[in-house]
């Protein structure tokens, strides 16, 4: 209350601020401000910045997860081991394979769904909600459920048979090296597509309705409306969706760990899966950091591409 008493009555806001600054409010504000960010900043330093830095540092050592001896610097040994490791190349290839297929299919399918539920019809919320249900279902639950469904005598094969009148016989999806990855891709898209549908939808809703009315009056068909109104209006959303799906695809882990353990014949081993197997299973933190480092560089490259794309167009 002291502040109000010292103020001249009826003083404007500007004067109040001036009084505050003159009396050392700036110093106090700095102190309070730093205090308030301290918990978050400390936590981020300990649980984000240091581990990221360690990812770089440990890659040049022989650190083990639990070891009585301190880690030694061994230079580029981990890297030469990595580049000579056929499983690494296979995991890298599998990861890219997954990303290259999933990114366009999932973003395209998500856009289609978004267009379907963007219509002004009754019950549209019901559809949005249902398409979204797999997203809130844990990927762990989804993986175990689909693992059951993908069994040779499982639901997927019996449905394929029934729907194709016994023409399609199906396969042992997760134990067939050629089919395992596509099976996981299909399931992953099923699970995550609703997420990107919602993001496309929020992008679609920023496009003013008058643009469509104008285009329609001008005789533009549905496709032309999409091509010349919708698509250009989704520029920012597009980049965001591509980057998030790409990074999520590169991080593929839970599905692999639950459904195939990297098999059959390492056909589904991915970078993160290999990093976990090495760093946790075999306790070789240093080698796992080296794999993580490559992964980190990939992610960084993807987001730099995003920066570049948005800057150029922005």
């Amino acid at each position: 209350m002291a502040v109000t008493q010292e103020m001249p009555p009826r003083s404007g806001l500007r004067t109040d601020t001036a009084v505050r600054s003159r009396r050392g409010g700036w110093g106090h504000e700095t102190l309070m401000g730093s205090l308030m960010v301290t918990p978050a900043v400390l936590l981020l330093i300990v649980f984000f910045f240091i581990p990221v830095a360690l990812c770089f540092a440990l890659a040049f050592t022989n650190a083990r997860l639990i070891s009585p001896e301190p880690a030694r610097i061994i230079g580029f040994e981990n890297f030469s081991r990595l580049f000579g490791d056929p499983l690494f190349w296979k995991s890298l290839r599998n990861t890219f394979y997954f990303a290259v297929v999933v990114v366009p299919l999932q973003s395209g399918f998500a856009l289609l769904l978004a267009l379907l539920v963007n219509a002004r019809i009754r019950g549209v919320n019901f559809f949005r909600t249902l398409y979204f249900v797999p997203v809130v279902t844990s990927i762990v639950v989804v993986s175990i459920l689909w693992r059951f469904m993908y069994q040779p005598d499982g639901l997927v094969n019996s449905m394929l048979q029934a729907l194709s009148f016994n023409v399609i016989q199906g396969t042992d999806w997760l134990n067939n090296p050629a089919a395992a990855m596509p099976a996981i891709m299909f399931m992953s898209i099923w699970q995550a597509v609703g997420f990107h549908m919602v993001i496309w939808l929020s992008g679609l809703q920023t496009i003013p309705g008058e643009l469509y009315e104008a285009a329609e009056l001008d005789g533009a068909g549905k496709w032309q409306q999409f091509r010349y109104v919708t698509w250009p209006g989704l520029k920012a959303t597009r980049t965001f969706i591509l980057v998030t799906i790409t990074i999520a695809a590169l991080s593929l882990f839970a599905q692999i760990n639950i459904m195939t353990q990297g098999g059959p014949l390492d056909a589904t081993s991915t970078m993160v899966f290999q990093a976990v197997r090495v760093g946790y299973g075999q306790q070789e933190t240093a080698y796992a950091s080296t794999i993580s480092l490559v992964f980190f560089v990939l992610v960084l490259a993807v987001s730099l591409v995003q920066r570049y794309l948005t800057r150029e167009r922005g």
């Binding site: 960010v37 639990i66 809130v136 459920l145 639901l155 001008d218």
Partner: protein
């Protein structure tokens, strides 16, 4: 075909085109609806199958696979799988652990992140732009890139315990509750969401409160936070989901059965003879809390997810 050409088209043609178009879409609308309904089936069938199977004995699950009965709760329906789950794995313990970890992570996370965002968005202090830039820079880095160095690192972290009126200093966070909570409290994206929401609350409110003698913390607690309901809901939802669903981290960092969360519990079923009915029951059990919350707050959920696209 750009929008700017509309003014050049002669008016009668435009009207004719519009009416012609208005007459046609009846069929298209019905077709669109059919597609929407088929898609409901596509997204729902595995989950319906999961729930229905959780009510059946294993031999009946397999017998029903080849017919529509796979999706219908018919035959020998019981909750036997659900009671069986609690005998096979310490399911109650997993559930309690997950609830505790999730609630603590969400509540403390809300405080820590909103405080930081408040200081960054509403106060003028040296270094704030630098801190903000550093936080934003962390947004793109997925957890998987540093999970393994983090595992090594938390094993080296110190901790103080108080026992028999004395403080003891210990090392190593592996296999604790705290290792499942602390790394996920501060979150750059939560800070960013609060930050942008706070920016939309007029700063004149702070000025007025200061004139009345309120300190900064008071302004945070009594002026800004009461107005930040939507941001709080968004951050709570976006913290809740990954906390409840977390798998990779507790799989590596927690070995003791009595400290493990629900998702890691799934792997317990794959070790012995596989009891599919029980797995389906357990999966249903750990999905229901999220599903109920989602259906109750679906608008908030969908808005929260949509807001994560704004930053693009």
């Amino acid at each position: 075909m750009t929008v700017t050409t509309i003014d050049h088209a002669p008016a009668p043609t435009r009207v004719a085109a519009a009416t012609e178009r208005a007459r046609r879409p009846g069929l298209r609308r019905a077709g669109g609806h059919l597609v929407r309904i088929l898609l409901v089936g596509f997204f729902a069938f595995p989950l319906v199958f999961m729930f229905v199977s959780s009510l059946k004995p294993d031999d009946q699950i397999f017998a029903d696979l080849s017919s529509i009965k796979a999706f219908l709760p018919v035959g020998d329906i019981s909750l036997a799988n659900y009671t069986g789950v609690f005998d096979t794995v310490p399911a109650a313990r997993f559930l309690i652990n997950s609830i505790a970890i999730t609630v603590i992570t969400v509540v403390i996370g809300l405080v820590v992140n909103s405080l930081a965002a408040f200081a960054l968005s509403r106060m003028r202090w040296r270094g704030s732009t630098l801190v903000l830039a550093a936080i934003i820079a962390t947004l793109v880095v997925p957890f998987e890139t540093f999970a393994l160095p983090l595992l090594w690192w938390v094993n080296k972290l110190p901790w103080v315990i108080f026992q028999e009126n004395q403080f003891f200093y210990t090392t190593g966070w592996l296999d604790t509750y705290r290792v499942q909570i602390f790394p996920f409290l501060a979150n750059a994206f939560s800070i960013y969401l609060f930050y942008s929401y706070f920016q939309s609350i007029p700063k004149t409110l702070d000025e007025a409160a200061r004139v009345d003698g309120a300190g900064w913390f008071r302004i945070y607690r009594s002026v800004v936070m009461p107005l930040a309901g939507p941001a709080i809901a968004t951050v709570a939802i976006l913290t809740f989901l990954p906390a409840w669903n977390s798998y990779l981290w507790p799989l590596m960092a927690v070995q003791s059965e009595e400290l493990r969360p629900v998702m890691v519990g799934v792997s317990y079923f794959m070790q012995q003879r596989v009891l599919w009915g029980q797995i389906m029951a357990y999966s249903t059990l750990i999905t229901i809390p999220v599903l109920v919350m989602f259906l109750a707050l679906q608008r908030q959920f969908i808005r929260s997810i949509a807001s994560s696209g704004v930053k693009g």
